[in-house]
Amino acid sequence: MLGTMRGGDLTGVRLGAAIVLGKMTATLSRRLQQGGGTTMPGRVARAVEPRLLPLLSRRLRYGSVIVAGTNGKTTTARLLAHIMREAGHHPVHNRAGANLAAGILSALLEDVDLRGRPAGDIGIFEVDEATVPRVLPHLAPRVAVFTNLFRDQLDRYGEIDTIAGLWRAAGEALPAGAVLVANGDDPLVYEAVRGLPGRLVAFGIEDERHALPAIEHTAEARYCYRCGTPYQYALTYFGHMGRYRCPTCGVGRPPLDVAAQDVALEGPEGAAFVLDAPGFGTVKVTTALPGLYNVYNVLAASAAAFVLGASVEQVRAAVASFAPAFGRAERIVAGGAELRVLLSKNPAGFNEVLRTVLSDGRRPVVLIAINDNIADGRDVSWLWDVDFEHLAGRADHVIVAGLRAEDMALRLRYAGIPDEAVDVQPGYEPALRSAVSRAAGRPVVVLPTYTAMLGIRDVLRRWGAVGRYWEH
């Protein structure tokens, strides 16, 4: 009895100390302008109390949701948090990109009081795809959302099959009653979650008008994960997203629980579609998020929201009022020009972004900023998997920036973009100035890798065009 009490006290003391230290770190790093304290508080606090993540997260009344996948994590998690907020909840939510265990813990530390009581009632956390096995057992999520799997930063994550395998193994540890919200159009995701404990809610697109004439070279899943037979695709939307079936083992796209029908894409301005969710309802939604890839993000967030009890009307209203985050196509006015910054970090995402920004024929000025820092992936081979050939004849000026500006210019040369249309400006500020000065009434689209996006945001902040990033 005495022993238990002592143990309890010690845990309490350590928990308290961890929280105080974590909060102090957050204040300090914010004051020192060390990037808003999005991961350091979690690292410091975890050193004091290693079990802090499960200890704090289990105090959330409605539990936690994780969102994992190559593309769309940040948008999906932010949108889901927005929907749940509109539905009367108080979500705790990690910052964009701070998606390792320390980032999630930092978000929780910010939310709790000094006694560890959370102000929020539900955790909505984007999780780095390779971190899922480390985070999932601690969070014991009610809902796990899997958006898609594409090649991305192979030098850091290893092979796509490895990630799918990690998810599968981690999924075995899901609590009973957990729900898996998964992209049914992505055979790699479906194979990773199929047969795991927990109910599967599959989402996808049902609109043959958006089918591509042929499967793209960015498709990762041409051969059945189980038996190696080539999948038969009745149609594909982009990459390997589509209606697939293995003729040998018979596994194909699952029936959809949440589907987008009658999809209307409005170029970079957004999209509208009918959200059809048998069992939950049917409603027409409009969103400022552009492109088919964002239709998937809206589907993922909506499906998770339905599972968590949001109504069709709450979802519709929240999707309509959702403003994209920095780097996710929000509209910015700078230097008299209209800018949109769209994070472009891997071939499948980049191709979709290019398709979206070039679709309205306004001949935008395009700024491409490529870095090869660890967070971007040190290997820029993937630039050769992006179809920059689409730019030829659709944009008059391309400015290239970042640590790999010269490599990007070389890529454009082989894509058939004339040398005189390309301006190499490795620095972000000269590059932005060059882009804005060439706009002449046309939109400017900025397509950066992750760390280049942060650099560009800093310049735009200095120009007074956007706020500090921890305010997003």
């Binding site: 192979l154 092979e159 099959d161 190696g228 290997d379 081979s381 630039l383 050769w384 998997d385 490599d407």
Partner: protein, 262 residues
């Protein structure tokens, strides 16, 4: 006598570059198609006709399907599928093509498959084509992969080759193959002996993965010239403006502390 045939060739039409791309949709892990794009463009910029024949799983390949055969990289699962297919229905034809003066560029996983065998971290050995006298073994799933920028010095070339490597397997050369180059920065074949890649006849294998030809135009032209020579001996390639490639090379060499030649 041989000269007469050549003049006739030059009079009739410019020599055509015939590329055969093996498993474009299976072994394509790191922008491998970039190498094909560079070969095609550099021929076109010179006014040479180009054909690219793609040969996939289950399809037979003719020894005359191309003069320059390319095989890229894949994950272990894709490599296993390719290994079976290569050995079952393509090996004899590729051997004949190489005996007959054909050129092959095998990159990363393709490089491993051009050797005798690849022993992956888990599972049975993958049989290779045996076009290069080498073997590759993965020391196990917990061993560090060899990842990073890779710069090598190649005998007979003024400038080093620059690229990126990412492989778990360690490759060792037998007496029948010589290394492509000496490692200046990075790991190369096995991270131990300081050698990178392999050459035998006109079969080139390298861990410089994905699109390494864009930044190494002299090597791209060497492959093009050797491929054309199979049917047009003595062919000469006109020079191309490669200032942009030179700038991209200079940036990376400066960053890695290597001096750019020329």
């Amino acid at each position: 006598m041989g000269g007469g045939r050549e003049v006739l060739g030059a009079l009739s039409a410019p020599p055509a570059l015939r590329i055969c791309h093996l498993y474009p949709d299976l072994l394509n892990l790191y922008g491998d198609r970039g190498n094909i794009m560079v070969l095609v463009q550099r021929a076109r910029w010179r006014g040479l006709p180009v054909t690219v024949t793609e040969v996939g799983l289950g399809e037979a390949v003719a020894p005359d399907a191309g003069d320059l055969f390319f095989i890229g990289g894949g994950e272990d699962r894709q490599q296993r599928i390719a290994s079976d297919d290569l050995c079952r229905i393509k090996r004899a034809a590729l051997e004949e093509a190489m005996r007959d003066g054909g050129v092959m560029l095998a990159v990363c996983g393709g490089y491993q498959l051009a050797g005798r065998y690849y022993r992956p971290a888990e599972g049975e050995d993958l049989q290779g084509l045996g076009l290069l006298d080498l073997w590759t073994e993965h020391p196990g799933p917990t061993t560090r992969r060899l990842i990073g920028n890779l710069v090598i010095e190649v005998e007979g070339m003024d400038d080093p080759l620059i690229g990126f490597e990412n492989h778990g397997g360690r490759t060792h050369l037998g007496p029948g193959a010589r290394p492509l180059g000496r490692v200046l920065t990075g790991f190369g074949n096995n991270g131990e002996d300081g050698w990178e890649g392999a050459v035998s006849r006109r079969v080139y294998g390298t861990y410089l993965h994905g699109p390494f030809l864009p930044k190494n135009p002299a090597f791209a032209d060497r492959l093009i010239r050797e491929a054309l020579e199979r049917r047009h001996p003595g062919v000469v390639l006109s020079p191309l403006p490669d200032a942009q490639a030179a700038r991209a090379r200079a940036v990376m060499l400066a960053r890695l502390g290597q001096r750019a030649a020329g």
